[in-house]
Symmetry: C2
Subunit: 320 residues, 2 copies
DNA sequence: ACGCGTTATATTCAGTTGGAATATAATCGG
DNA sequence: CCGATTATATTCCAACTGAATATAACGCGT
């Protein structure tokens, strides 16, 4: 049996030499009144996670099991984020593969057995909330420290490259802020040693107030991946409704989108888009709890998931 | 140690009970003169694949190793597709997790040690090529068989649901063909037992001419995942250039995009888009090999990868 | 009862984009 | 020199999107 044939053999008779542990990690998101929140295990300062076991029917069901066991939170919508293997643990007897998921749910469940914690994701990423304009932490803290980092090299090319990357990621030099770059921003701050994870064990120059709450291992990085995915996906799939109560006003819907994106949208334009896509339908009722004129109540039209599939249109693909 | 704490413990001291094998599977795509081609191991009728081993520095490097060993093909661009675990092999001693990747490369390498084969992906999915209009196989074969399948149930709701899903996936009833639904179409045909994989061991009603070449296990499904991902991604990231030679004409670029999407685009509109995005730059030279007026030769402006990040705009996010 | 603040809802307008069609240019082969 | 063929440039219009403005309906305090 040559190497090629050995390669394409599936599973089966192999020795234990190449066995790995597969960890399932969940980014569980639900809405607060003012911010998206992520579910954590406070004692471990970690996302809910656990090993994939033989008793699990599938990866997803294994994930649901661990999250429910650790936090009491049942999960609805789930999607896979990414699979990592290159952890820092080299030379160990067995390796760990991490399969991460994004879950969208409601915060209505009572806390589980282990005192799970819902934390605003802007506690972990203070620089990501631009709903009230560019946050001071970006202009006053991160910008100068990133410039310092860029200048901390002798190589002129590297310096320019660092400046450019920082400018793109954070919208410096009159560039636009792009909310989808959450992962790039975290990785840039990591590289510049401005987040605590990058300097563990060493001297910690990063204070929480500037660089946000950290997590164990690469969990904050996984959270950044989930945020970026969600911010991207709300633009072409109606996933926001997974985070909404069954009945809501259009402004509540708008506030949720804004909280996720970390930036504001224009009300008339937002309503136009929602209506012309026929994503919602009126319940016929109104609520006066909003302060001014009573607002119509809407519900998500689940039928759109059947009727339509939203296609991108960035290339001039002739239709019809 | 309670269950929760056990859950969040990372790797380490666990017994071998929950160990798994991790397989790496590659969808390697390169352009032919007229179609995108996928790299296979003909003897196994399979995609290149192999187990993730302790000697591998990372998942990606493991994948590169197996593909090069099995096919002689070095890989450039790689992105992760999906991680599966729920294979049909239940009850086995150890389970297999499959981590699939999409790779874009050039076909210029000589065949590897094992006679690897480049096959047009439309050999595997004859219904996906709409460059010359809707293929006959869709109208004459798949449509009636799908209707038969839809009618093959007593439940009226199920019947309507099947009809609707088929109409959405294949663009029946005056709906538009959506090239990004390659995976949904394959899964629908699988459910309707119109592809060979669905009826293995049983009576095979599906002929290759209608339902395309099959592969072992779920490899054709993984290929469909790769096609769908690529068709989606060319619309918002300049990945086409991974498949182009260093120098090319705009029509060659257009033909490549059309081959990937399986549908035609308008020439002036295509050029306008390419130019206004500044994706290419003139080499200053021309080629007369195209038949009529000599065409300008272009090269990809790698700088755009640094300058810009393309963001979607499906929600009315206020900018500035 | 009335005005005012507040929120909801509707309309308008202009700049941009994108699909589609048409026009002009340059080469080759007869 | 003509016409077939491909390349390149221009035009037109409908749809979309950002931005601003106008009107409606409630609570509240006076």
């Amino acid at each position: 049996m040559d190497d090629r044939a050995k390669g394409i053999r599936k599973g089966g008779a192999g020795g234990k030499a190449n066995d790995v542990n597969a960890d399932l990690i969940a980014v569980v998101v639900a809405m607060d009144s003012s911010a998206p929140c992520v579910l954590t295990i406070p004692q471990a300062n970690a996302l809910p996670s656990g090993p994939f076991e033989l008793t699990h029917r599938s990866l997803q069901s294994g994930l649901r099991g661990w999250v429910e066991q650790q936090t009491g939170q049942p999960l609805g919508y789930i999607e896979q984020l990414y699979t990592f293997a290159d952890r820092d643990r080299v030379g160990a007897d067995d390796r760990v593969i991490s399969i991460s998921y994004l879950a969208l749910t409601h915060q209505d469940e009572a806390g589980g057995s282990a005192g799970p914690h819902w934390g605003s994701w802007y506690d972990y990423f203070p620089w990501e909330d631009h709903r009230s304009g560019t946050p001071a932490v970006v202009l006053d803290e991160l910008r100068p420290r990133l410039m310092e980092w860029a200048d901390g090299t002798d190589d002129g090319t590297t310096r320019l490259d660092r400046r450019r990357r920082a400018a793109i990621a954070f919208g410096f030099d009159d560039r636009h802020w792009n909310e989808e770059l959450a992962l790039q921003r975290y990785e840039l701050l990591y590289e510049a040693a401005l987040v605590e994870e990058a300097i563990r064990g060493g001297y910690s120059a990063a204070s929480t107030s500037v660089s946000g709450r950290s997590m164990i291992a690469d969990h904050r990085r996984i959270l950044a991946t989930g945020i970026a995915r969600l911010r991207s996906k709300i633009k072409y799939r109606p996933v926001v409704f997974e985070l909404m109560p069954p009945i809501f006003t259009l402004l509540q819907l708008q506030r949720t989108v804004e909280a996720l994106a970390g930036r504001l949208v224009r009300k008339p334009n937002f309503r136009r888009l929602i209506e012309q896509q026929e994503l919602v339908e009126e319940t016929g009722e109104t609520t006066a709890e909003t302060g001014g004129r009573p607002a119509q109540l809407f519900r998500f039209r689940h039928a759109v998931l059947d009727e339509r599939v939203i296609a991108g249109t960035k290339l001039p693909l002739a239709r019809g």
